[in-house]
Amino acid sequence: MAATRPIRLFRNISAKIAAIPMILTAMVVFVGGTAWTVTYSFTSSKLLPKAKFVGLDQYERLWNTPRWLVSLENLLIYGICMMVLSLVLGFVLAALLDQKIRFENTFRTILLYPFALSFIVTGLVWQWLLNPDFGIQSVIHRMGWTSFNFDPLYNADIVIFGVLIAGLWQGTGLVMCLMLAGLRGIDQDIWKAARVDGIPSWKTYIFIVIPMMRPVFITTLVIIASGIVRLYDLIVAQTGGGPGIASDVPAKYVYDYMFQGQNLGQGFAASTMMLLAVLVVVIPWAYLEFGGKKHV
């Protein structure tokens, strides 16, 4: 047995060499990097990482920092609104586009183009549109409705909804596209059968088509959710986390503590919490998708 080993190792050697970057990325960066960050989140690292373990101190401090709680609350509000609204809007738009309409390609192109733009560009455009002195508010003031008040970017209570408008503008096209692909994947005979039975089309959508599209919905949800957790660029460009810390999000909290606050331990603890949140979403999904059957 021992004598055959070297031969087995060298069999298929080119493929193994070709896979080295993947193996290194998977093991060193993804597994190794994650393990490193999690480990060092239990240390008192400040400017440089130090292996001085302090137990759960960083987490205790994290959960006692108002800024973290604000950023978590923001992410929660943004996340729930984004998920619900982009799914509903994306599905409705896809259903409208699926009615064998003319100019389908034109509409689809228009609805999807913001997705090609970066969050920085998105954030800056909406910062300009929502500018209270020159933007939408001022236009409406000039039309005579002077009591109209719409300056979400300068109002700490609703600033996250200002970001949400921009996020929806950028991301709904993607959901629409995924949903449209899902709708096209549904057997046309189902529609015929429903029509023969005299079921109105909205009922067909809700009780037949949507349940059939469950896998598409789940995949879309996972994509939206993993985008939400990463929410960073948009905030930096549109509000800079302001006014004050009112639109802070976890990703920005991590960045600021790691690279500006010189408080690495806090950054590691916060990013570990982000990882935990993602695992809570991804593990049940992976279980649903791949659990039981072996995936190819």
Binding site: V139, T220, I223, V278
Partner: protein, 310 residues
């Protein structure tokens, strides 16, 4: 489409939709249903186009006109000065050579990153599809799950790795980071594509004595141009639009365009020149927008590829 309301309840225009008894029951063109569908879509489309329109209009106005006028109004006097200023004169910190610096940095980052990540991922996907070896699938699964880990978790370990290699703050370092984070999705894309090719092709080549690289270069590569284009679109837009890696892994004079744009627009000192800001924003968005409008269906395919499950 604006006159549809007038005809809402009118019978179909005679001889217009009637092409004979074939096909489904002919629909009335201006039924209430159609008005609802087209009306909604047009309103939504206008909402989606509005920011692009405002960007263009604002970037062509002079500052006095912006201060006095309405952001939706078309420019009274078209000026290209904001564009020139955004490209060549806008300041970030002490540098006043405009966005052009960021543009060229982004080009120098994007081109090698796209080539490297596609080269690595395509060979990798090919190995996974046709030359499976023990353990390959385990690594692949880890790679795919790695795509879900928030970047923030891996930011600092990569700083350490790059510092150890002496690449921290250099373009090479950033190019490596882009290749690493492009790997999960691209490998998945290529693996699925190569798996879908007929296996007989591969077997025939094997029987004829072709090896790993020979099959890759002479058979697989020529057959998979479309998927390479899809991967390219995906990567060019993704890397061009990146902000986080650019700001973390490079130095100020190597900042990519997105980072520089943000610094120009959100700088606190000086008078805000909204027209220059919008011109700069448009300039940064131009590359992905052109790619998007030119590539059309392939772009959608790239997105759909991002959505396929592993």
């Amino acid at each position: 489409m604006s006159d549809t309301a007038l005809l809402s309840s009118a019978p179909p225009v005679s001889g217009d939709a009637m092409t004979g008894p074939r096909g489904p029951k002919p629909r009335r063109r201006f039924s209430r249903r159609n008005i609802f569908i087209y009306g909604t879509l047009i309103v939504v489309a206008l909402y989606y186009l509005l920011p692009l329109y405002v960007m263009i209009v604002t970037s062509l106005k002079g500052m006095p006109e912006i201060r006095l006028g309405n952001i939706f109004a078309p420019p009274v006097e078209i000026t290209f000065e904001p564009w020139v200023k955004a490209w060549a004169e806008a300041c970030t910190g002490l540098n006043c050579d405009g966005l052009s610096r960021g543009f060229w940095n982004s080009v120098r980052i994007t081109v090698p990153s796209v080539l490297a990540s596609i080269a690595i991922a395509s060979v990798n996907g090919y190995a996974l599809a046709n030359w499976r070896f023990k353990g390959a699938d385990a690594f692949f699964t880890i790679l795919i799950f790695g795509a879900f880990i928030p970047y923030q978790v891996m930011l600092y370990p990569i700083v350490i790795l790059l510092r150890e290699m002496g690449l921290y703050g250099s373009l090479t370092g950033l190019i490596m980071v882009h290749s690493i984070f492009g790997m999960p999705i691209l490998t998945l894309l290529f693996r699925n594509y190569f798996t879908s090719l007929p296996e007989e092709l591969f077997k025939a080549a094997r029987v004829d004595g072709a090896g790993f690289w020979q099959i890759y270069f002479q058979i697989m590569l020529p057959m998979s141009l479309p998927i390479f284009v899809v991967a390219m679109i995906l990567q060019v837009t993704g890397i061009w639009n990146d902000f986080l890696f650019g700001v973390v892994y490079t130095k100020p004079d190597l900042y990519p365009m997105t980072v520089q744009l943000n610094n120009i627009v959100n700088s606190v000192q000086g008078v805000k020149e909204y027209n220059v800001n919008m011109a700069a924003t448009l300039l940064t968005g131009l590359v992905p927008l052109v790619i998007y409008f030119v590539s059309g269906k392939l772009f959608v395919r790239g997105i759909a590829a991002g959505a396929v499950k592993g």
